[in-house]
Subunit: 321 residues, 2 copies
C-alpha cells in the first residue's frame, strides 16, 4: 500500500479511501487505481481486520464431510458465504466433543466473524461475543438453531407409506442417544400412525451399543421366526434405508413390491444424480442460506430460537408408483 501511495504520488490515507470506495477526487482515484493495478496490489485482509475487527471469514464446524448430507451442507454454506463476500474456514471434529470444544477455542484465535456448527457436545462452551448458529441441535435462546421439519417429515413418511397401501409399518432408527432435532422424526411418524389408527412398530438401535449392521441380525431373526410382518419401513436416514433394502434383497424380499422403504435426507448418487432411495428430502440449500442469514442478522438474541424448514417427499425407487 505504501508502494501504491508512492507510485500514485499520494498519501496512504488516500489510497485507503480509494480501496474502500470512500469518495475521493476523481484524478486521485484514477491515479491510485492505475498504480494499484500496475503493482498488482492486494489488500491484506488481516491487517485490515486488525483495525476493523471484521475479517469476512466464517467458521463451519462439522463432524466430517464424508457423508453426503454433511458435504452438501458445507457446499451450500460455502456458496452462501461467497455470495456475501465471505470466506469459509472448515473445521472437522469426527463428532468428538473434545475436538468440538477445541475448534470453538481455535476459532476464537482466528478472528472469524461468526460460527456455524453442527455439534454433539452437550455442554459446548460458547462465548457470547461470537455469533453462533447451530444446525440440528438446540442450545438455548440467543443461539439460533436451524433444522428441517423433522416432525413433519416423520408424519409425511407415515402418510406416504400408508397411502401407498402399507398395512403394517415400522420405524427403524440408529444413531447416538444424544438428544437432537432428528429425534422428532420418530415422534412425527408415530403420531401420524396413531392418528390413522395404523399398525406400527419402532425399532431403535443405539449406535454406541450396536453398529448399523446389527439391523441385519434383527431382520434375519424376525424373518426366521415369522415375525417379519412389515410391508413399509421408515428409516431415520437414507444410509440406513439403503442398508435395509440391501439386506431385504439378499433375503429374497422384494423392494418395493413386498416392502416399501422411505429414508430421510434426500441423498443423491454423486451429489446430483438420482435419489438413492425414496426419501424425505431436507432442504439443505435453504438451511445453509438460513444459517448464514441468521449469523449476519443484527441482533442474534432477538432472533427465533428454532427455524424449522419444510421437507418434501421424493420418489427414489424403494416405494411403489
Amino acid at each position: 500500500m505504501k508502494d501504491v501511495a508512492q507510485a500514485a504520488g499520494v498519501s496512504l490515507g488516500t489510497v485507503s479511501k480509494v480501496m474502500n470506495g470512500i469518495p475521493v477526487g476523481e484524478k486521485y482515484r484514477v491515479k491510485v487505481e492505475a498504480a494499484a493495478k500496475e503493482l498488482n496490489y492486494q489488500i491484506n485482509q488481516y491487517a485490515r481486520g486488525l483495525k476493523t475487527n471484521q475479517t469476512f471469514a466464517v467458521a463451519l464446524i462439522l463432524p466430517g464431510i464424508n457423508h453426503p448430507f454433511f458435504s452438501e451442507i458445507a457446499q451450500h454454506v460455502c456458496q452462501a458465504l461467497t455470495r456475501r463476500g465471505y470466506r469459509m474456514l472448515l473445521y472437522l471434529t469426527g463428532s468428538s466433543p473434545e475436538v468440538e470444544q477445541s475448534c470453538v477455542q481455535m476459532v476464537r484465535q482466528n478472528m472469524v466473524d461468526g460460527i456455524i456448527g453442527l455439534t454433539y457436545n452437550r455442554d459446548l462452551q460458547l462465548t457470547d461475543d461470537m455469533p453462533f448458529v447451530s444446525i440440528d441441535r438446540h442450545f438455548s435462546s440467543g443461539v439460533p438453531c436451524v433444522s428441517s421439519d423433522n416432525y413433519g417429515g416423520g408424519r409425511l413418511a407415515a402418510e406416504k407409506l400408508l397411502e401407498l397401501g402399507c398395512r403394517k409399518v415400522a420405524y427403524f432408527r440408529n444413531g447416538t442417544t444424544q438428544p437432537g432435532e432428528a429425534d422428532k422424526r420418530g415422534v412425527g411418524f408415530e403420531q401420524e400412525c396413531r392418528s390413522r389408527d395404523a399398525d406400527f412398530e419402532v425399532i431403535w438401535l443405539n449406535d454406541e451399543e450396536y453398529p448399523m449392521e446389527e439391523f441385519r441380525n434383527i431382520i434375519i431373526d424376525r424373518v426366521n421366526r415369522g415375525t417379519f410382518d412389515f410391508d413399509g419401513i421408515f428409516c431415520s436416514t437414507d444410509r440406513l434405508a439403503v442398508f435395509v433394502k440391501r439386506v431385504l434383497t439378499e433375503l429374497g424380499i422384494r423392494v418395493p413390491e413386498d416392502v416399501q422403504i422411505i429414508g430421510f435426507d434426500g441423498t443423491r448418487r454423486f451429489g446430483e444424480d438420482a435419489y438413492v432411495c425414496s426419501t424425505i428430502v431436507q432442504p439443505v440449500a435453504t438451511m445453509a442460506e438460513t444459517c448464514v442469514d441468521l449469523l449476519f442478522s443484527k441482533d442474534l438474541s432477538r432472533t427465533p430460537a428454532l427455524v424449522c424448514l419444510p421437507v418434501e417427499y421424493a420418489y427414489g425407487g424403494t416405494t411403489k408408483e
Copy 2:
C-alpha cells in the same frame, strides 16, 4: 495481551515470550500462564501473522464438494492440515476458470501460507511467492502435481476384465476436453489391451457437447443394431460406471453376468460403506497427505514435478468373483 501483562505485572515482551515458548524466568512464566488462563486469553493469529508472515492457514480450491471424490479430498486435506496445526480455507469454483482465477486472487488477500488446488483453468496465473500444489493437473516444474497412477489404473482395469474372462472390452469416458492426468486412464487401458492382443473399443463423450445421459442412447442404439458386443466395460469414473450399470439393467442386460463393469475412483456409499461398483481405488488419503507434505517442503522448486500414487482394484459387485 496487554491485560495479561498488567495482570501478571510483567511487560508485553515477556508475555509474548511465554506464549511462544521462549525461555523465560520460571516465576514469570507461571505468573503469565496463570493470568492468561484467568483472563481466558487467546492469541490473535492475524496480528501475529502481520508480524511473522505466517498465518497457519492453507487454502483448498476445488470445483465443489458435492461429488464424493472431491469431498473425500477435502476431508483428508483438512485432517492432514489440522494434524500440523493448520486451518483450512475452502474455496469452491464450480469448475469455472474465471472463478478459479478469482479464488487465487482472493487467497492472496488472505495471507494463507499456501494453496492446494484442483483446477481446470488452462492458464491460471500463479504468483511465485505463494506455494501451490496441484491435484491431477500438471502445470510446470515449480508447481508440483499430485495424482494417482491413472495410467497404471487403466492397465489394471484391462488386466482385471480380461482375467475375469472378458472377450471384448470397451473404455467409456466422458468429461472435459481439457487435458489432465485422468486422460492416462484410457492410455493405460488401451496399452494393456494391445499388449494382450485383446479386442477393445473406445467411446469418448465430450461433456461440453453431450451430457452423460447420451451414453444411454449410444448403448440402446448399439443393442438395437446388434453391435453391442462387449462383455467388459471400463468407465472413466465410478459415476459413469453406476450410470452404465443402470442403463444395462433397464435393458435386461445382467451385470456382472453378461457384462462386467469397472469404474474409477473408489467411491463408497455414504463415504464409508460398500463400494458403489467394482473400481480402481484412488489413494485419496495418501494424495491429500502428499499435497500437504509437498506444500510444506522447504524448496518447492526442487521438488518432483509429478507425484504418482499407486491405485488398487476393489470388488464392488459389478464384476464376477
